[in-house]
Structures are given as C-alpha cells and as structure tokens.
C-alpha cells in the first residue's frame, strides 16, 4: 500500500503556497487584484469628474456636501488603517490577544465609516438627491456606493478573522491571512484618500 500523505514543507505551512517566484501565491493574488481594482475605481472617478457639473435639475455638489462631517468619516477610516497595521504587527509577533483587539477595533471603525455613509446618503436623499434625480446623483452614489461595498466586504473579512481567532484557528502560523486582509483594508483607505480630495474637497 502506498503512502498518500502529502508532506507540506514547513515554509509553505507558515507562509502559504509559493509561486514560481518564491513569493506567496495568496499575497501575489491580492496584489494583482488590487492593481486591477485601480481600473475599476479609475473608471468610476473619471466618470464622476465628467458628469458632476452636468446636472440640469436637482441639487449639485455644493448644495448637499457637508465637508466637516465627511472629514470626520475620512479621519475615522484613516485611523482604521493604523489599527489594521497594528493587528498585522501583533499577529506576526504571536500576540493573539492584541491581534483580536486590533481586528475588532478596525472592524468597529469601518462600521462607524459605513454608518456615516448611510447617514450621508439618507440626508442627501431628504434634500432631494435620489439615485435618478440627476446625472451628478447617479455618478456620486455609484462611486461612493462601490467604495462602501468594498468597506463592507472588508468588515466581513475582519469579522471572519476575529471568529477564527476566538475559535483558536488564527495563530502566528496564519499571520499571512491577516496581512492579506490588511492589504485589502489599506487599499480601501487609499481609494478614499483619492475620493475625499477629488470628489469632496476640489469644487
């Protein structure tokens, strides 16, 4: 009888499967995805830039934007990048307790950002800006809505990591899983850095 047990090299067990480059497949795949996601957000941002001042009826950007409120939301998302970086650093050190705390804090800050976005959308709607009110509304809701969906997916991934950690399935040997989710989270943050400047701050 032949032995069918697959012996996984120690390096692969710790850092995930390696590609021909010697790099982790998972991490490489995440970077390829993030590079391609730049094209998605590039298309949405350029569409918004072309259409935002072409509304012939209904409210425009100057009528609805509340910059102080959005600035607080932006700051919250920016600080969630710090807590995510601390989560990645703590799991790499093997500090599972701190990792859980930072993951939970990051998810909470993401939740606060999404709550702010829901409040903003609701306020805009009450002020007369629906998705089909004018072309500015369509472009704005599509761009910021897509970003909000990305943040929500990130929160789900963070909560999944938290559940894995509580069940004892997320130790230092799976630090790369936290790092890859961290890459996604930071990407969501840098997209917002661009959106905040281009959509909100530049009139």
């Amino acid at each position: 009888m032949t032995d069918t047990t697959v012996h996984v090299p120690v390096a692969e067990a710790v850092h995930g499967h390696r590609s021909a480059t010697g790099l982790s497949n998972t991490k490489l795949a995440m970077w390829v995805y993030l590079g391609s996601d730049c094209l998605l957000f590039g298309s949405l941002i350029s569409t918004y830039l072309l259409l935002r001042h072409r509304a012939v009826q209904g409210p425009g950007p100057k009528d609805v934007f509340d910059i102080p409120f959005t600035s607080v939301s932006s700051f919250v998302l920016l600080m969630s990048s710090l807590t995510m970086a601390l989560a990645v650093a703590s799991i790499a050190r093997g500090d599972v307790q701190r990792n859980r705390a930072w993951l939970a804090t990051t998810a909470m800050l993401g939740g606060v950002f999404i709550g702010g976005q829901v409040y903003e959308f609701t306020t805009f709607y009450r002020e007369g800006l629906g998705y089909t009110t004018n072309i500015f509304g369509s472009a704005f809701y599509t761009l910021t809505g897509f970003h909000g969906i990305h943040v929500s997916v990130g929160i789900v991934m963070l909560m999944s990591l938290l559940v894995m950690s509580i069940r004892g399935n997320l130790g230092p040997e799976r630090a790369e899983a936290v790092e890859v989710v961290g890459l996604y989270w930071h990407f969501v943050d840098i997209v917002w850095i661009v959106i905040f400047t281009v959509v909100y701050l530049i009139p």
């Binding site: 480059t21 094209l39 650093a89 009139p203």
Partner: protein, 109 residues
C-alpha cells in the same frame, strides 16, 4: 529566485513608528480640510495644493502600512502597473471628452 526569507527585505516598522505615521497622515488630512474654509481659493489653486497632499498620503499608506517599501519589489511593480495603467487610460478618456480644455470650463460656467 527569491526565497521565503527574501520576501521581506527589511524589518517592518514598530508599533510606535506606525502611530507616528498615522499622526503625520492626520496632520496632512487636517491641512486638506483647512482648504475647505479658504473661500477665496480658486479651483486651480486648490488642485495645486491638494494633489501633492493626496499623493503624499497615498504613498505613505502604500509604503509603510502596506509594506511596499519593505516587501519584494514584484508586489510594488504589480500594483503600480495597475495604478499607472488606470491613470493613463482615464486621463486619455478625460482628455477625449475635453475635460481639461477651456471649452469644458466655459461649459461649466
């Protein structure tokens, strides 16, 4: 061919360094928000002021929080290839729609 050990070329920042980086990002954001209260500033001037600050924040997050400064250069090349491709493609698209021309600015007025 690089090995597992070579994937991380240098040591990552410490927790304290991460906090300092976040403080710098917070200060830049405060300067960005301050431009909103500068009512006399023209759009062109705001673009000149805000774009370098946005780019700085973008590069700080990608370099330090996303570890592009420390990780294997292949990750950096893959990401910036996508980013630069997106920038070039959509700059061409915006130019094709006369976004940067005076005609477009007159249309807005």
């Amino acid at each position: 061919m690089s090995t597992v050990a070579e994937e991380h070329v240098h040591e990552h920042p410490s927790d304290l360094q991460y906090v300092k980086i976040a403080l710098i990002l917070g200060v830049i954001t405060a300067f960005e928000v301050a431009t909103y209260f500068w009512k006399d500033a023209s759009t062109k001037l705001l673009v000149v002021i805000l774009f370098p600050m946005m780019t700085a924040k973008f590069l700080i997050v990608t370099s330090y929080f996303m570890h592009l400064r420390y990780d294997n250069p292949l990750f950096r090349r893959i990401f910036f290839f996508g980013l630069i491709l997106a920038a070039v493609v959509f700059m061409i698209a915006l130019t094709a729609f006369n976004f940067f021309s005076d005609d477009y600015l007159r249309f807005l007025q």
